[in-house]
Symmetry: C2
């Protein structure tokens, strides 16, 4: 019955109800699981609206899904229902350089957008590690960002206007094609980061930015992570905003080395990879300034001399999250407590705390991430045969989350809340959760949009 | 009775109910008018919360007010009620350079914040023309911006966390002290630009930015405004993002000259003032690039050679909005249709259209503003003795608004909607007004927060 109704909307070949197909949509890159009743592949906003209206009539959950690369279960149908696989809505509709904007469908893969913009000398600055697979829709749903957010900000800073299908099946435009506006409530930013719980994004107008003329990467080594953290505080408070500022701890360095021995990383307790970008002359001036600040606490400083060397360093950095799972076949990475954000000056203390937890609970933790904006990824792995390994990992994650909240941080800086972190929402937002629930209730009174997420 | 109840909350000396005092709060810098029942000056969020609760019990409107420099009636109690004069909550609570943030009360005057940050080498980038009087609270309520938004964005881009008193009197924190977050709905951005209709901001954590090491100003002259508009399109699409890009049409040039004869501006149909900032060497490189692009269509180009010359040019630019009213004592400026925003490539056509309306309706229109982000200020003046002058001005404003919406623009780029523009909200947001109303109804079910605004 449901199958027939969905087929009438999107066509026979765009509906899946076989269990072998449904299985593929029952998980993402996190531990969350949930079986959908049906999966559909819509091709335009009209189809999405019709499906949402049908779901409303039937009281069925509707869950939008991009690439399924999410790390918190955001796209997993934990209460069943209809999964909307948005990957067929993957058109770059218009590249409008004069207006500094591009119009895309949500299924566009991040990397493809930047490949299309590059010949014009422009780019879309958010740069998630999952660029090769993640979709712009998923990035918007989670307010993703990546390595360059320290200077360029998050996805939120680049969305001018959205087309959204609301829970009642109406199709709404949230913003404006102008570069700034002071007219009306900011529905665009309300949708960004709402993880499909307030509406389903079917089109986006994104602001784009000129590609920098030059970039330079500085690699600074430190005896321990806390010294690296202190250096980040010094760089930023000295008035230098790098285009990227990444940390790799000793485990992360070791992981990169074992995964790709051709990448030359120094022996160190931690390294910072600091990129500056801009006009040719400015880059040299800023790289010198960064080097000077680093020299106070670093044990070694190296400037990548060629574009190729820089590219290899960034490649190594990108690999590290995935690489850790491949180093030891007996161990597997568990994505909990993996995306914390803290105020900059809390970084050294936080890094030290994570290290102490690793020792106390005998859980290897590789710490890396976008330290320049306070965002740390803590990669925990467990031995699959370790009886209480999962329990210890969860305890460590819980300790990390609680400390993060204690110091004014956030349990997710860029990966989202989804199912994985929903139990910490009240703790992080003790005064405002009820406001979020009021909004959710107002815009989705029957709770059909991605239920069971974000602690709503 | 009301007076006594309010005095019990904020103290006798912080309540005004005398008509001579109330009069001062019955208007702002727009044409909107409305008499309050009482004015209070709260000193902390607890007092604000108590007043909001009282207003809820009595069913009285509550209207927050900063400096009263708004141009759309946002702070005018058009339905009566209690005005909260927030100017006593004017403390800079903490300057936290390490975390790149500052915590302020909403009554802090914009200029004072930047004066306080300057010794640390930092600044708060939004820079409204009313810097000397407007408050950070008013700026946030309207998502104000100013000259440097072309590069630095609007107020929205710099607010990390807010303390807000909701309509039910609860005190809520909306964000995080981290530089980025992907946890929960973006209540911060929902509050920014909501003009006091969803909550009353009582504290804000703002991100700050390092002061650029150098700045350079290029003055380019053009035969007409359309050529200047075309040049702006060329500059941006060439991949140059100036820190400011302002236009003055011939009336604006003449106004500045008559107001301050010492400012040397060329005879021209229009001028662009283009500022680039950054590292010392980059500024020179970028200024050269700007000059090269301008030279294609400009009749003359001049680079301000000293900081003093730059300062005098910016000062002239800042004067122009106020100056026009003082040139001819018989004429007065009317703030309607004065804050439009259009996509960049619509600028030349829009400038031409405004000029043609000026001729058709015999209304002098001085056009100036932040053309680099598509934001034009159209300054209309009328002869006070002109019988149907006001009617003609309103007709011109109506034509301007409709054209702006036709080309995908916004009726307010930075001044807000308030009372002045509420009748255009349905036109600009035909699909999403009902969503805004759903949110308003959910968060302020009895409609006590700044009623009669934004077309809600």
């Amino acid at each position: 019955m449901l199958k027939k109704q969905l087929e009438a909307i999107v066509g026979e070949k765009n509906v899946s109800t076989r269990s072998s197909e449904l299985y593929c949509y029952s998980f993402d890159a996190s531990q969350a699981k949930g079986d959908p009743d049906a999966v559909i592949r819509p091709h335009d906003s009209g189809q999405v609206a019709a499906v949402v209206r049908l779901a409303g009539e039937l009281g069925l959950p509707v869950v939008a899904r991009g690439a399924g690369s999410g790390l918190c279960g955001g796209a997993v149908p934990v209460n069943g229902g209809i999964v909307l696989d948005m990957s067929s809505m993957d058109q770059i509709i218009e590249i409008d350089i004069d207006d500094l904007q591009v119009t895309v469908e949500p299924g566009v893969v991040h990397e493809k957008l930047n490949q299309a913009l590059s010949p014009y000398g422009f780019f879309f600055p958010p740069d998630p590690g999952s660029t090769a697979m993640c979709t712009i829709g998923g990035l918007m749903a989670n307010n993703g960002s990546g390595m360059r957010s320290v200077k360029y900000g998050t996805t939120r800073n680049y969305v001018l206007d959205l087309e959204v299908v609301m829970a009642d099946g109406k199709i709404v435009r949230t913003g404006s094609r102008t570069l700034k506006t002071a007219s009306g409530y900011d529905l665009t930013d309300l949708m960004i980061g709402s993880e499909g719980t307030l509406g389903i994004i079917t089109q986006a107008v994104l602001r784009i930015h000129p590609l920098p003329r030059a970039r330079s990467v500085i690699l600074a080594s430190f005896d321990n992570t806390a010294l690296a953290g202190k250096t980040v505080v010094k760089i930023l408070s000295a008035g230098i905003i790098p285009s990227a500022c990444e940390i790799l701890d000793s485990t992360a360095i070791e992981t990169v080395r074992r995964y790709d021995p051709t990448v030359e990383l120094p022996d160190a307790g931690a390294i910072l990879l600091i990129e500056v970008d801009g006009m040719q002359n400015a880059v040299k001036e800023e790289a010198d300034a960064v080097g000077k600040v680093c020299s106070e606490l670093a044990s070694g400083i190296k400037v990548a001399s060629t574009a190729d060397e820089s590219a290899r360093l960034w490649n190594a950095r990108r690999l590290v999250g995935a690489a850790i799972s491949r180093i030891d076949p007996k161990r597997t990475r568990v994505y909990v407590g993996e995306d914390i954000g803290v105020p900059i000056k809390e970084l050294p203390g936080m890094l030290e705390y994570v290290r102490s937890l690793s020792e106390e609970f005998n859980i290897p933790i590789m710490t890396y991430g976008h330290i320049g904006d306070g965002n740390l990824h803590t990669g925990m792995t467990i031995d699959m045969l370790d009886e209480n390994g999962m329990e210890r990992v969860n305890t460590v994650a819980d300790r990390i989350y609680r400390r993060v909240i204690d110091v004014g941080g956030t349990v997710s800086a860029e990966h989202g809340v989804g199912k994985a972190r929903e139990s910490y929402m009240e703790l992080e937002h003790p005064t405002s959760m009820y406001v979020m629930r009021q909004i959710k209730k107002a815009l989705d009174p029957h709770g059909i949009l991605n239920p069971g997420k974000m602690g709503l």
